[in-house]
Amino acid sequence: MSSSVIDINDIKKTFKTGFYRRKYVNALQGITLQVGKGEVFGLLGPNGAGKTTLIKILLGIVRKQSGEATVLGHAAGSRAARRKIGYLPEHHRIPRHFTGYSALDFYGSLSNLPRSVIRAKREELLDSVGLREWGNTPVHQYSKGMQQRLGLAQAILHDPDLLILDEPTDGVDPVGRAKIRDLLDQLRRQGKTIFINSHLLQEVELICDRVAIVKQGQVQKMGAIDEITHLPETHFVFELNGDQEMISQLLSKYEILDTQSNGDQRVIMDLSLSSLEEVDHVVDLLRENSISILSLARKQMTLEQAFLNLISD
């Protein structure tokens, strides 16, 4: 038995579409990944990459074609596994006739929680997602963001070991997002494993320990955020004050990757330097020619840039 909370090994899934003329769509083409205990894992990918299909296979909503998957040591989709999972689906629909409290009563009962336990927890839970005052309000009066937060509350109601969140901050305002981030951070500290599927890469960058980027049913890249956004240590960005032409002539023997200037003596220059000696030499050269150095930094990539680079290949 694997020690991973989620252990996916060469999962494949093909959908049949069309009624008269059947077409086959390969949604997953051999995905393999592991998520460890207490990890916040992000699953990224463009629309149609197969992220939601993978989540549904983990929950047993969709059957896999081949491959192996276990969740918390149980076969993916088994009732034993589902008992320990909290799930927030994308575009979930909590029936209109529920209030915040009755929705928690219902979904808690489905997770086999005694009513007394649900009643004891529900107020605190709604408070944690910022819906304390809305427990008796019908769900159809909730905004999109409020419904999303209520969905998150029902997902953590039964104290699951693994949280699977499909676009958890979709439609939530910045304040609500911050609240959700705090809650997820709190859950991480409690040792919960969180598996997030999101398009909001800035959110993922802030929350996740590791991510996997999926394209056309295959994992393109997987690792820690730093690993994904890592660039060679030879890229340096200089912010200078001086004449652009003069600066370009001074540094002509170095590889200039990019130059930007707003026309008022302020120049941002991206250089490829092979060693720290070369950095010192460039600094000396600029200072000798009275060029002011406003800032100097090693160049970093955002997750969004890394994601775009990967999926545009």
Partner: protein
């Protein structure tokens, strides 16, 4: 279990929240409130009903003879003279060859004029009806001054006089006539039934009401209201959330199905218990079988809802679910109607028994419990009675026998198998000539009685699954009951008039008995076995011989449910439903 109960509860929660439950409960309350003021009231019977004419053709012939006379000073002549010239002319002209339709129309016109005569204060003339020959009721009415008589008293007197004038052609009216009342006010005309038929009438009407409210309206509304439940559950955002919980997919579906059914059960129970209470409290008709409609309607709903739910799973659209259910209903309706049409209308109704009464009258009974008497003068069969409670197949009748000493028909009314849950007791039914052979409920028989016969010395013996009994009481005496809310709390001691004249046995269905008319011996077929019972010197039956008739039938006794046995000349014949006949 908690999860599935939560789903069932949620179906109610959804119905309550969407106000559908309140709308339905409100609608049912309105229906019940509309029915509740209905009642049946009675008044002395006066109006002549179509069914009260006897031998219509001979009546017309009588009137024709009177019209041909120059003068007729009899009461018949007086009555004919009261008819309008138009109808006198029509009667004089009608010819037998003109057919039944003309006779029917003429009798209708005649009935109309006679009903007008009922209002005539001056109709009674002493010279035509000698007071001494009239009934006590008529004498009392005549004693009242004609100007002081109420309309009802006048009509009642005239009706009695009409009956006296044409006793062979006009049946004696019941003492009371019944009519429908709403808030105590008479609605429509007097009903063409005697008061004794109120029970049957109300049951008929309830049956019709149930057929419409429950069978058509109830099921339709139920399907429309519950059709979105399954498609809503299968909406993408909803089903994913439900399936992520530790629940079984099949049980999740079945719980939703059960939720919809329990919602319909609640409404059906309210409607039917309401109608049952109204029938009991307003009409004193406590028909407990009505309560069986609750599970029956629920089952019917489940059949149709299965189609709706299946369509909901496939197409996930309530409208498509309703349409598919409607298509299924139409197919069932066409099949059912075709069956009824063929069985009820096109196929002949087989005669199940022919009874000869004193070698003068012949009565036949068909499989629909309709009895016909042969009218020699008109060379045709005339309907005598219809078994009133055959409407719901609640009971079956054993072929009647004629008791020549007491001049009456005796038969046995047995509960049908599906209603034996309410007890296996049957009743004798007795019909007398003076009541046009109409069958009246008589003494109760021991539990699980299945046949009876009359011995040459006129004694009645019944055969039940527990043995043979001799009846010693008054056969036309119905058992006294003690009822509260229609439930008979009197002990089921219908057997106090019966004496056991056989060993204790425990025979099984299917069972059939044949009686030797001279020796009194019995041959009993019982689930593959044959028993020969012989009377001893104490007139008690002893089992003389028992043997297995057929191994296959012993093993599978229910294959042939209808068995017929006959006994005579030292041989007995057993005929089975599949056409097989065995001679022993």
């Amino acid at each position: 279990m908690r999860a599935y109960l939560a789903i069932i509860r949620d179906s109610f929660h959804e119905a309550v929240a969407s106000r559908v439950l309140w709308i339905l409960v409100g609608g049912i309350t309105l229906v019940l409130a509309a029915i509740a003021p209905l009642s049946i009231s009675s008044e002395p019977a006066t109006r002549i009903q179509r069914s009260e004419f006897k031998n219509g053709a001979s009546l017309i012939k009588n009137i024709q003879d009177i019209l041909q006379k120059e003068e007729d000073s009899s009461s018949q002549g007086y009555l004919v003279s009261k008819l309008s010239e138009k109808i006198q002319h029509q009667i004089a002209k009608i010819d037998e060859v003109e057919g039944a339709r003309s006779y029917y129309n003429l009798l209708s016109s005649l009935r109309g004029e006679w009903n007008d005569i009922l209002k005539d204060k001056d109709f009674h003339q002493e010279k035509y009806w000698k007071t001494s020959s009239l009934s006590d009721e008529a004498k009392k009415l005549i004693a009242i001054n004609k100007e002081l008589r109420t309309k009802l008293q006048t009509a009642r007197l005239n009706r009695v006089l009409l009956e006296k004038t044409f006793p062979k052609n006009l049946k004696t009216a019941q003492t009371d006539a019944i009519f429908l009342a709403y808030f105590g006010r008479k609605v429509g005309k007097t009903l063409p039934f005697p008061p004794a038929y109120v029970n049957t009438l109300v049951n008929y009407r309830i049956l019709g009401l149930m057929g419409f409210l429950g069978g058509i309206l109830g099921i339709s509304v139920g399907i429309m209201v519950t059709s979105p439940i399954i498609p809503n559950m299968y909406e993408p955002g909803s089903i994913d959330l439900l399936l992520s919980k530790p629940v079984n997919k099949s049980l999740l579906f079945l719980s939703r199905f059960a939720g919809a059914c329990s919602f319909v059960l609640l409404n059906t129970t309210y409607l039917i218990v309401g109608i049952w209470l109204i029938a009991g409290l307003r009409f004193e008709v406590w028909n407990h079988n009505l309560l069986l409609c609750i599970p029956v309607f629920l089952f019917l709903f489940m059949v149709y809802y299965s189609v709706s739910a299946l369509a909901g799973v496939i197409w996930r659209n309530p409208i498509v679910s309703i349409v598919m259910t409607l298509v299924f209903w139409s197919v069932c309706f066409v099949l059912g109607t075709s069956k009824l049409l063929f069985e009820g209308g096109l196929l002949p109704k087989p005669v199940t028994s022919i009874i000869s009464i004193d070698d003068q009258t012949l009565i036949t009974l068909n499989n629909r419990k309709e009895a016909f008497e042969w009218v020699e003068s008109e060379s045709q069969w005339e309907e005598v009675f219809r078994e009133p409670e055959s409407w719901a197949n609640t009971f079956s009748l054993i072929s009647p026998i004629y008791d020549s000493e007491n001049k009456r028909l005796i038969t046995l009314r047995l509960p049908q198998s599906s209603f034996r849950l309410l007890g296996g007791f049957g009743n004798f039914m007795v019909g007398e000539k003076k009541n046009d052979w109409k069958l009246i409920l008589g003494a109760e028989t021991p539990s699980n009685t299945f046949d009876f016969f009359k011995t040459p010395d006129g004694k009645i013996r019944t055969v039940s699954l527990s043995g043979v009994h001799l009846f010693q009481g008054d056969i036309s005496q119905e058992k006294k009951s003690f009822k509260i809310l229609g439930f008979d709390l009197a002990p089921k001691s219908g057997i106090e008039n019966f004496k056991k004249i056989s060993p204790d046995v425990s025979w099984k269905q299917p069972v059939s008995v044949a009686h030797h008319p001279v020796s009194g011996d019995l041959i009993i077929y019982e689930a593959g076995d044959i028993h020969h019972l012989k009377l001893n010197s104490d007139a008690v039956y002893e089992i003389k011989k028992s043997f297995q008739l057929d191994k296959v039938k012993k093993k599978n006794p229910d294959v042939d449910k209808k068995i017929l046995t006959a006994f005579g000349n030292g041989q007995s014949i057993i005929a089975f439903e599949n056409g097989e006949i065995k001679i022993i």
